[in-house]
Symmetry: C2
Subunit: 283 residues, 2 copies
């Protein structure tokens, strides 16, 4: 506990110490140059409650400019985004995504699309077959680049004071989502992102993560720290849950229930077959 | 060209206009609150030339703290990172990744690992089977969360003045990379990231991207703008190539050659089989 006490003392003078304590509940200390960008990155929390205020003009274009500023493999740019603001369409997409109410309340729902359709079109235009798109590697490359792009958008949106929440539930019913969005073959909604002004009446908190020794290895993968660090994390997450007046539950218990079997995948156990039907051969 | 002239005039007074011109070579204008974070995001370029200067103390821990601050589905945190600084190991990894010289010259090479091994261990600890990990959905979720995390790390590293370059070539030889890093079953090096001080003698430039109309759709996916916007992009990329004294080549030609078939995948056409051997059933 002395580490925690030390860190709490340090927080008044050092905003980085505050951010690191919120993230780890540990006495990790870093001698970094501090600034707005690091503060923004470390202060992230998912925001699920929004006010009814409209978004600033240009919000969508700024998010896309940030997204397009991320790296992309061989400059392929294999993604698109569909910006949904129509309440009726948002409601239909919410129904397809496990009825998460933040989709209804957010003024903007961004759908991040792995888009091989555009590359296939380019192949047609140049008379090249584009057969590499039929391999798992190309699908994976598309998912990686779409994710890098979306995370840049999240940070840009947070930089102008907005809050976001990723919606993986959009993969519960990929074929129905493709129909709703008019997606062409060889495109796939990888995840959604709700965007809005955070509701000050329902502030979100920074959730602690696994200790760094559980995820960071030097030179080669190691396991020595795992049992100790997982037990430490269970305890830290419980202290967060108590503060939030949430039911206390170990992370090890939550995580293992979430991955226990196909019944815990909310319908996504058929994803491979659905992707085949959407035009991804995944060879 | 009047749009370009307008934008060039606007750049002196408006740093956002400068960033947007560099990214699009168009007169896109956004009424956003400007700040350090947006500037950092929009100014990204991949850096492949580094000085010999050592990294600041705490660089790796800062990158990991930023990475762990990204969203993660159901708080599963399904990734790890291996930080490689040993020159001999970097050289071996470079040889497995298409001999990209930036791996040799960067003082740090981060390997971003989709890590289902830790979740499988948690399942053993709690007596839960962890069978959901054997589905394609779980692999995809791991790849998405690993990518969101890495992009946060990239921005944090850039915030302290460092430069980075993603290395997708690490997927050329996944089994050999797993052996080199001592990866356990159910883990996979998704991509690498070189990190170092940018060499001022070889400055990198912001590469223009597709016009927003090619990647951003409202309410439903649309295609009307595609041929016009792709032609506009070919022209803008050629103007960039001329400035950089690079050979001029249309994006449509580059991209279609990159996806033409399994021979353009640098060995990654066998990725599915290799993933099976690494413990990912991809059901």
């Amino acid at each position: 506990m002395s580490g925690v006490a030390w860190t709490k003392r340090a927080q008044a003078a050092d905003p980085l110490a505050t951010r690191l304590f919120d993230r780890y509940r540990d006495d990790l200390s870093l001698p970094a140059k501090w600034g707005e960008a690091l503060d923004l990155i470390l202060a992230h929390r998912s925001v699920r409650a929004y006010t009814a205020d409209p978004l600033p003009a240009g919000t969508i274009e700024l998010a896309v400019a940030a997204a397009q500023s991320a790296a992309t493999s061989s400059n392929l740019q294999p993604w698109s985004v569909v910006a949904v603001e129509d309440p009726a369409r948002k409601a239909r997409l919410a129904a397809l995504s496990g009825n998460q109410k933040q989709i209804l309340h957010a003024p903007l729902f961004l759908l991040w699309i792995v888009d091989h359709h555009r590359l296939a079109q380019v192949g047609e235009q140049t008379g090249t077959p584009a057969n590499a798109l039929h391999y798992l590697e190309s699908f994976l490359l598309g998912a990686v680049d779409t994710s890098l792009a979306a995370q840049n958008a999240v940070l840009a949106l947070e930089a102008i004071g907005l809050g976001t929440c990723y919606i993986g539930g959009i993969r519960n019913k990929p074929a129905e989502v493709a129909t709703e969005l008019g997606l062409p073959p060889q495109s796939f909604a990888l995840f959604g992102l709700t965007v809005g002004h955070p509701d000050p009446a329902a502030p979100a908190s920074v959730k602690p993560r696994l200790p760094q020794e559980a995820v960071l290895f030097r030179e080669r993968y190691g396991e020595a720290a795992a049992p100790r660090s997982l037990a430490a994390y269970d305890a830290r997450l419980r202290s967060f849950q108590r503060e939030q007046e949430m039911p206390e539950r170990d992370w090890t218990e939550q995580a293992s229930q979430r991955v226990r079997g196909p019944d815990s995948l909310a319908g996504r156990d058929v994803l491979r077959d659905v992707l085949h039907r959407l035009g991804f051969a995944l060879k």
